[in-house]
Symmetry: C2
Subunit: 328 residues, 2 copies
């Protein structure tokens, strides 16, 4: 069984096919958040702290930390800022860190200060990337996110993306890095632009799991880019990728609809033992206003009657309502 172990100083998180879906909180990232970038440049980490606390409270198992505030001279400015941000985050919450940067010096600086066993985000199939990042992965004995693009860009052909992932796994093996320390991101395209984007990912994740035996992740919300009511698309996508075998995602855990989909899929995938997390979270659930027509809110005709044993209950009705008991 493939188990990727990430850890903070005191807490270990295991990513695997038989484990609850691992939610990697994406919010500590100034890309596209001008206000946050300005704050971080100015040495103000209030939003970082708020995002760290809120994401952990909302259910993030790992926190991605990105300090890419500027495109100007990042090799000098990003390493110290990433170090500072990681130190603030791990001083505040006790979850493993995902060190997120395209700057190798920043990743190495992060690795020196991150406690436990952080995740590195990311390496690609580009030769230069492989040859700079993989030695760090080996040296620090940490897992890495492997994105399935290379010098030629992102292929629209999922077979090529699979081949890139395979190439990364093979390169890593040359460094003595095991497949269980590689989490492949098969790359999620916007479904609004590419109608096949969903089926591509489902098939890719299945192959990555069955053939390469690796855990997988994705930048989840890419799938719904450009569509209305993105949370609804994201919330349908999560159970589908989980059913296909995906084991983690980089996403916003502060979205209740998406997190409900994660918790529900964990129940259905058999990774929420005795439905304990679901029952704890939703035992007092009240449907929010506006989600159900009032005329239907009270309608209820359970298919299985309370108190019966669904596996043995016998009933004359062979119709749908008695189905579960109809074989007794």
């Amino acid at each position: 069984m493939t188990h990727t172990i990430v850890a903070s100083e005191k807490r270990e998180v295991v990513i695997g096919f038989d484990k609850p879906f691992c939610v990697i909180g994406e919010r500590i990232n100034p890309t596209g958040r001008k206000k946050l970038a300005a704050e971080m440049i100015g040495g103000n980490f209030e939003t970082v702290e708020k995002d760290a606390l809120e994401q952990v409270a909302a259910g993030a198992a790992v926190l991605d930390v990105n300090a890419g505030v500027t495109a100007v001279n990042p090799n000098e400015t990003e390493p110290p800022l990433l170090v500072k941000t990681i130190e603030i985050v791990q001083g505040l919450v006790d979850v493993p860190i995902s060190i997120d940067s395209s700057v190798t010096a920043a990743i190495e600086a992060g690795l020196k200060v991150a406690k436990g066993r952080p995740l590195v985000n990311s390496v690609t199939g580009e030769l230069e990337k492989l040859e700079t990042i993989l030695p760090l992965i080996k040296k620090y004995d940490v897992p890495v996110v492997a994105i399935s693009n290379d010098e030629t860009g992102i292929s629209m052909d999922p077979d090529v993306r699979f081949a890139v992932a395979k190439k990364i796994v093979e390169h890593a093996a040359d460094y003595g890095i095991k497949p269980h320390d590689i989490i492949v991101d098969p790359l999620v395209m916007p479904i609004g632009a590419l109608g096949d984007a969903g089926r591509q990912v489902f098939a890719l994740v299945r192959r990555l799991r069955e053939e390469l035996k690796v855990n997988t992740t994705c930048g989840l919300s890419n799938i719904s880019f450009g569509l209305p009511h993105r949370h609804g698309i994201n919330a349908a996508f999560i159970p589908m990728v989980i059913a296909s075998g995906m084991t983690s995602a980089i996403m916003n855990p502060c979205r209740p609809q998406e997190m409900e989909a994660v918790h529900g899929a964990n129940v259905l995938n058999g990774t929420d033992e005795n439905c304990a997390t679901w029952i704890m979270k939703y035992r007092d659930h009240v449907a929010p206003q506006g989600t159900m027509p009032s005329t239907l809110g009270g309608a209820s005709h359970p298919k299985i009657q309370p108190g019966s044993n669904p596996a043995t209950r016998s009933g004359r009705r062979g119709g749908r309502a008695a189905r579960v008991g109809s074989g007794g």
Copy 2:
């Protein structure tokens, strides 16, 4: 490609792997609805009419019709009542009917009056059932729901359930009935009672699709029986069974959360061309109160910037936020 064709007088619905998930409305069924049963016995069809109109408005493609109001002498009382109910429903709405009864005489009476090409719900693997229902399926040239239990009851072993389904398909072939006219119900157990219920169904549906090449269905809400916030479990289950290859379900279309999951999964499965249905339904979507913390309602940092071409856009940031464009 497996296509099951059901039809009303004027409308044809095709069930298939490349078609939108077929929602079969379950509500016209007095089992467990004492008030509805009493109304139907008394010749009052107001609730039947309301349920027919509401379900079609909510997106049901087919309406299941069950008139099993009593366990007393059903062979005499059920056929005329089912006929009456079918006539009322098909006089009111123009969607195909699913004739739902455990009484063979009622099914045959229904077949005589249902217009178009109704679905028969159901046959099981019990020999007596096979020998009474399959001749009707052949005679009227209609599709049938095949439930994977037999004289021994419902097996907890999914391999046995698969074998029962295979037996039904083979028996049907002896009558000249093609696999595309058989919609297998692999039987959904409550996940709260059987932690493996989800994975069993996902694996079974995949096998039924790949090995028997049949369409599939289920009584959807059985999965969440006994758990709090059942709609959340149902809404996670729908994308997962669709990702596994299920092509229809008997369910309540008047539940917005479940229907949103259906529409979202259709987008992601590539059966909502150009996302047209999704965009039409949700273009003006406003998150209902209570589903999102107000502090987060306005937060937004799109991963892909509007106006950019996600497949070619180039960005320095190799981090998650620029991921889709990072290969340019």
